[in-house]
Amino acid sequence: MSLHPKGPHATRRGLLLGLAASLALGRTRVAFAQLPGERRLVVVILRGALDGLHAVQPYGDPALAGLRAPLVLPEPGQEPGPEGALLDLGGFFGLHPALPALHAMYAANEALVLHAVAGPYRSRSHFEAQDLLEGGATERLTSGWLNRALAAVPNPAQARAGLAIGTGVPLLLRGATPIGAYAPPGLERPAADLIYRIAELQAADPLLGPVLAEGMRARGFVAQTIGAPSPQDRDRNAFPRLAAAAARLLAAADGPRVAAMELGGWDTHAGQRNRILPLLRALDDGLAALRDGLGAHWARTAVLVVTEFGRTARVNGNLGTDHGTGGLAFLLGGGVAGGRVVADWPGLTEGQLHEGRDLAPTLDLRRVAKGLMRDHLRLPEPAVALAFPGSAEAPALPGLLRG
């Protein structure tokens, strides 16, 4: 399929010539904004399932405290707890205090919070749900929706239009459209949480248990306790560094236009309040790094942050949460119609919960992604349909972007 009407000027060169003409006419801003090839999209996958009710707490919902008192943070303006108090999002929802940069974007009307969202699937398996999230259909596909969408995005001169940031290419970006990949040299380090889980396995080994404990100590882990934060906050640095690299590459004139990156470790079955802290900080630092690194391009950038599903509304027996359904997404960027929480709030009473346990999803995540495809990347309808096959019941969500 072609993005442009057939004809002698339907080539990319033709579009560039058109841009030059627009510049000469003094309509640069509009011209840039309307050029499909100048817009940037970053998709961040939070693997392991972010607890949406923890990151964006509906403190205005009277049922919240009864479900998860140990995870509820002080309301905005109240006496702050160890992590601080919630950052207000307009009187009903509060943002976790470890997300200050995101809150600043929200205040600048550049961040949108989408709550009670979910894909069309109802799987509580991480692996299956991640595949469906990235595949973009209700059955497992071998290519990702972002890759299929890229088929309709013009290639910049020197690079692939799409770029996978970090080790490996997520399913989201796999498929027929060639994509680039960037990973920093050297070995990556697992998140502290994963190291702690391995340490639990190794603890039974008389030889390796103590050796690994010493290795962890030397790297600054305080104790082999799940939930103890990593003092050197390695996690916190790795993702922002990747994000900064992604921003640098995306900002280049001949660089990629679409990038995907991921941050894992959100599977907080125990000690969630501490375990989620370094992850939220890393995410926040990374989103700030994207904004700062993209500079003037931020105005033409959208960043979509998604996770495979939400978590149980009730706290479990280990002060954590288990696999749930309705979750959270963020959309940020200079052109995003932000400063709002988009949620058809389902409520948290017993009867309102999905299967009596999970936040009920009221917004299909595909609608958000399709809205971005259509209104941000300006892809024609057939290209959007190719990215999300069989999604007629989930039409593109309008109004995600300004202007």
Binding site: G168, L171, L187, R189, I198, G265, D267
Partner: protein, 433 residues
């Protein structure tokens, strides 16, 4: 699947490949790999390597020290190391490959000595591989005659003081190779040799040299540097000439102390860091009774009850660990580079041991705190490239029935494929073989 089959695959093999059907019969599978020699894999001979080096040198001499591009030796060595990794990813006789690597380490010729580079692949194919189920004495002679060893341990430049060239130049012996043959390759210090024996063997081996820049681009016996007269080694007399050297090596290669030493090293490598004495005795007896038949020794080795119970008694050195992980992930041979990078990242770069005694073979040397952390970093980095796999299948290939319930549970609860694979590779059972 029976547990013994999996023990065989990790203890004597290189671990199962993703989706690989395990053999039905553990012992039969191992036995079959000790049968008739498979054809030698292709590669560059030592002579081709030395010729390439000579051509590189000649080009440098013509061009004021410069070489266009990488020259000839660098790509040749690259091809050899990649071929090594590819063979181990796809090996149909992984036990045989393990034996090749064991003997390569026993007879370490390290690439840290630059001259070894062009001949290291040839060393494996010409001196080690043909003999891993043959006679140890044949292997010892082939090793000591090989340019890799003659260059690595400096014998190529050793000069008999009483030889024509020695008398003329005043140059003398280099004892390096002779000492290591006695200490590391054959008798070991327990064999009771003296400094005098070291010097005598060095004299015996004078003239064993290498034609580096001319035909035959390989072993060359040089009468001009060979110490004349008979020599006494451990009370035995050896005549002059090249034949005296071969006789001395065959004497050492069939010495009872050598067999005891080899039995100890084989059992330590395949069974336990502290080899059970009765196991060492059994392998040693086989070597003694067969005159050093390494195939027969390997057959005794795989029948040692201690090799099967308890399983997982050996900590995996980085080479074992990296290969097992890459095989469990089904790493395709065209991505063999990842194996070599893994060996480098975990401190055991291929054919690069720091000293002639080779890479250590005990947990005490490898299971260090930061080394373990790096192992996890590496596993996590590698797993990041395999997000499309079913972690249960990876766990099945990696551990099969040796997986502990805790590991299975932790992997099944992981938040991503990558985390699940990292947990499998980070488990204590996968760190052992």
């Amino acid at each position: 699947m029976s547990r013994s089959v999996h023990v065989a695959a990790v203890r004597f093999g290189l671990g199962l490949r993703l989706g690989e059907a395990p053999p039905d019969d553990a012992l039969g599978w191992l036995e079959s790999q000790l049968g008739p020699e498979a054809p030698l894999p292709p590669g560059h001979s030592a002579a081709e390597g030395l010729r390439a080096r000579s051509e590189d040198l000649a080009e440098r001499e013509r061009n004021a020290g410069d070489l266009e591009g990488q020259g000839r030796v660098v790509p040749l060595v690259r091809a050899e190391t990649l071929a090594w990794a590819r063979r181990r990813l796809t090996a149909e006789q992984p036990f045989r490959e393990r034996l090749v690597d064991f003997w390569m380490n026993h007879f370490t010729a390290s690439r840290r000595a630059g001259l070894v580079n062009p001949v290291i692949g040839g060393f494996e194919r010409e001196a080690i591989r043909p003999h891993v189920t043959g006679r140890f004495a044949d292997m010892l002679v082939a090793v000591v005659r090989h340019p890799a060893m003659l260059l690595y341990l400096d014998n190529a430049g050793s000069v008999g003081p009483g030889s024509p060239f020695g008398l003329r130049s005043g140059r003398g012996l280099n004892e390096n190779l002779a000492r290591e043959v006695l200490e590391l390759h054959s008798l070991s210090p327990a064999g009771g040799y003296t400094q005098g024996d070291v010097q005598e063997l060095a004299r015996i081996l004078t003239g064993w040299s290498v034609a580096l820049r001319a035909e035959p681009f390989g072993f060359q016996f040089r009468p001009q540097t060979h110490e004349p007269g008979s020599k006494q080694l451990l009370g035995q007399e050896f005549g002059p000439g090249e034949a005296g050297g071969e006789a001395a090596l065959r004497f050492l290669g069939t010495h009872p102390a050598t067999f005891r030493h080899l039995a100890f090293r084989l059992v330590r490598h395949f069974v336990a860091d502290a080899p059970p004495p009765e196991a060492v005795r059994a392998v040693g007896a086989s070597l003694r009774d067969t005159g050093g038949d390494l195939g027969a020794a390997a057959r005794v080795l795989i029948r040692l009850p201690q090799a099967w119970e308890p399983p997982l008694g050996k900590f995996r050195a980085p080479m074992d660990y990296v290969l097992a992980a890459c095989r469990a992930l089904g790493l395709p041979p065209e991505r063999a580079e990842a194996v070599l990078n893994g060996l480098g990242a975990l401190g055991q770069p291929l054919w690069n041991a720091p000293q002639p005694n080779g890479w250590a073979d005990t947990a005490a040397e490898w299971a260090a705190p930061e080394a373990l952390m790096r192992r996890l970093d590496w596993a996590f980095t590698l797993a990041g490239r395999f997000g499309r796999l079913d972690p249960r299948e990876v766990a099945e290939a990696a551990l099969g029935p040796l997986a502990r319930a805790e590991t299975v549970t932790a992997a099944s609860r992981a938040g991503s494929v990558r985390d699940a694979i990292t947990l499998v590779f980070g488990s204590p059972e996968f760190m052992h073989r």
